[in-house]
Amino acid sequence: MTHPEELLAAFVAGTLPADRAGQVARHLADCPGCAEEATAWRRVAGAVGERAAAVPVPPAGLLDAVLSRLPDRRRTSRASVGSGGGRVVVPRYSGVLGGAAPVRAVRILTHQRRLIDRRIWPVAGAVLGIGAGFAAWVPPGSSGSVLAVVMPLVAALGLATACGNGADPAVELVAASPTGVRAVLLARLTLVLGAILAAASVASLGLAWLGAGAPFGLFAAWLGPMALLSAVSFALSVLWRPAVGIGVAMTLWALRMLSDAGSVDGVTSHLVEFVWRTSGPMLLVAALLVAGTVAVVPYLPTAPVRAYGR
């Protein structure tokens, strides 16, 4: 071994790998020059080590001070990748939702209202307004038919747009939030259907006040079809995509128009008439369709999961 002067400092400090340290030790036994060098390093190491050891352990109050200054770390969910310590931090975005269930529900509704495409509201409002105006203009007795044509369509299209899968600009954000996909879906359903239902109710009451018909009859004219058309549109938009929901809803709607005009055969006409009526079975079918969609949506393997997160 040539003179290992470069290694002597590390040798004295004890930071050489064992095999290197062994070589150095053997060399030192035979080389007085290097041994003297090593002794010089030992003097330095001894003085430095003593000086470092003379520094007392930090006072207990210091740790307490550090602990009291630790920021409350937001709970973040981490996904470990592999076992080599390489960690990928998946950010989760969350606002404070509050503790009580009603408070949380209101907060979720408020947040979702901001995420729904704003254009829905003026378009739905305009169509509803025109429909209601037309219903007021037609002779009394026909108002119900006009409402039955307009209201369900608005609801079906509104739901497809707000709840449909893949059409959400805030998809990434929603997927990264801890609010479950069902809560998000229900919130949007509640917001859009609630608003349209309220607007349609106000329109019906207004028409009844103007003498266009009995309030109950006016409600019954659109409530059943709206429920069914909305449910079909909602289910297909969420489970498949909005275009499918809108397409099927429009087809049902067109059948109803054709049936009114007498352009379809008797059997189809009777079927359409049955479907387009407010009845227990139809409301039940609509409710089951919506409930089923909401129930299965977290387990869908493909697009809806991507759209909403679990």
């Binding site: 590390a10 400090a13 190491a45 352990v57």
Partner: protein, 191 residues
């Protein structure tokens, strides 16, 4: 050693305060000694230590396993300490000023040191500029390997070695003359 540190650090990343306290127990004293060496002021050294551990808490999750936890901590501590030197950073050290070439013959500084008594060396060490003493503190106080020192100081390993030789030479020259059995007459001494 680093495996233990690393698992502690992972627990800290998950918000485990006990693991945090354990890391503090393991490294608090060496880090304080190091900061004290840089700052020569107990109060500011303790501040630097506090901020080092606050930084550890905040960025435990972002620790990349490129260095050991200990090296990482010394690096943080160094930045915290240097940030507390008002106005001036330690003057850059003259490069290679006293790196002795390996010859097999001990240089005069080595001879002087080898024969000096411990108290004289301690006195000389106390008189060293913090920037000069730093590399000695890391090597012999904290017991970091040269590669680790290179990381903390962000310099090549070769420079760590030359700085060690340089610091030792300065230390030897600061020894009181009567403490050595041989006369230290500088670098002209016949080699």
């Amino acid at each position: 050693m680093d495996d233990v540190d690393r698992s502690l650090l992972h627990r800290v990343a998950d918000g485990d305060q006990r693991a945090f306290e354990e890391l503090y127990a393991r490294h608090g004293q060496p880090l304080l000694a190091y900061a004290l060496g840089l700052l020569a002021d107990r109060g500011r050294a303790e501040e630097a230590l506090q901020d080092t551990f606050l930084a550890l808490w905040r960025s435990a999750a972002s620790f990349e396993a490129r260095s050991t936890v200990r090296t990482w901590l010394f690096g943080i501590c160094r930045r915290q300490a240097l940030g507390r030197i008002p106005g001036h950073r330690p003057a850059p050290l003259p490069v290679e000023a006293a790196a002795e070439l390996p010859t097999g013959e001990p240089g005069p500084e080595a001879v002087a040191l080898a024969r000096a008594d411990a108290r004289a060396v301690a006195t000389a060490l106390a008189g060293l500029a913090p920037a000069q003493r730093e590399v000695l503190d890391l090597a012999f106080g904290a017991g970091l390997a040269h590669a680790e020192i290179a990381e903390v100081l962000d310099i090549p390993v070769g420079t760590v070695k030359s700085r060690l030789f340089h610091a030792r030479a300065v230390l030897a020259r600061a020894l009181p003359v009567d403490s050595t059995m041989v006369r230290v007459s500088g670098r002209e001494t016949g080699r």
